[in-house]
Homo-oligomer: 149 residues x 2
DNA sequence: CGTTACGCTGACGTCAACGTCAACCCCACT
DNA sequence: AGTGGGGTTGACGTTGACGTCAGCGTAACG
């Protein structure tokens, strides 16, 4: 129980000289505003601890925030993200809950893989279009350079 | 200029028996609402022709709509999409305009490639998490089946 | 010739994801 | 004792992307 083997999830052992960041430090680190962090907290996406009234963000909060921002970049809603975020930390739960979460994560994975496939296709198309565009530009330049209107 | 060699972009030749769809047909085909199509038109993303007052959507409109919806899935704004959409059909333009559009498309491509890299990473992480989750579930099932609390 | 169906045009409503602003608290200086 | 720098909680504003609704046109149907 006390030996951190290979999975340091929510480890208690490493809180030397406070591993906690203030809201401002978080903002600087992740390039977000305080308002955003409070908003995410209101939406129950992160749960910083409190020192009096001040919020303090632990490593797990940073990990969650990283996942949140990534999810956003992929176009998932905050609500979507909140659902699957539970997968990454919530292990203290019953079997049924775990299986539901597992299934949910599988769905997400499928979505992401489909998205990747479509992204590959879109990239290929855009590249082709760029090549064509470059050719046209080159031609116009040659013709235009020789005989301008 | 007149010979369609291998690039059938916006071909005039194929308009047999009206290749035009009504707004409803478009909605059914692309799973969007009429409001959405009118909205896109107001934002100058598509330009259907009119039969009297009714909108009619040609093949080029369908191609554009496909690109629009795809762009949205990747998290681009309609305004972003409108910009780069021009790359795909606009050949009658001056050199400066073409080069701007070209540069814009290159930026887009870079963004999409970065997005793909991050998506790959996210997929890998989620897969790992799923494997771990599956292992935990299996273990719980074995232990729980032998000696329930 | 009424009415039903589809379409059009404003105009206003809504929802997510924050931004902005006011008012307050607390602690540290000086 | 004031003042400055974080931090906090409402509460309202904003922007993008539509939804919704009222009022109208018109073409077809029975």
């Amino acid at each position: 129980m006390t030996a951190p083997t290979t999975a340091p999830t929510t480890d208690q052992t490493t809180d030397q000289t406070t591993d906690l960041l203030t809201i401002r430090q978080m903002c600087d680190a992740f390039d977000v505003t305080p308002r955003t962090l409070r908003f995410y907290e209101a939406k129950e996406l992160i749960r910083p601890v409190r020192d009096g009234m001040k919020r303090l963000y632990a490593r797990s909060d940073r990990a969650r925030l990283k996942l949140i921002l990534r999810g956003k970049r992929f176009g998932f809603s905050l609500e979507d993200i909140r659902q699957t975020l539970d997968l990454y930390d919530r292990q203290g739960s019953n079997l049924a809950q775990m299986e539901r979460t597992y299934a949910l994560a599988q769905d997400r994975l499928a979505i992401m893989e489909a998205q990747r496939a479509e992204l590959d296709e879109a990239i290929a198309e855009l590249q082709a279009e760029l090549r064509a565009g470059a050719a046209v530009i080159a031609e116009v330049k040659k013709a235009g350079g020789a005989a301008a209107a």
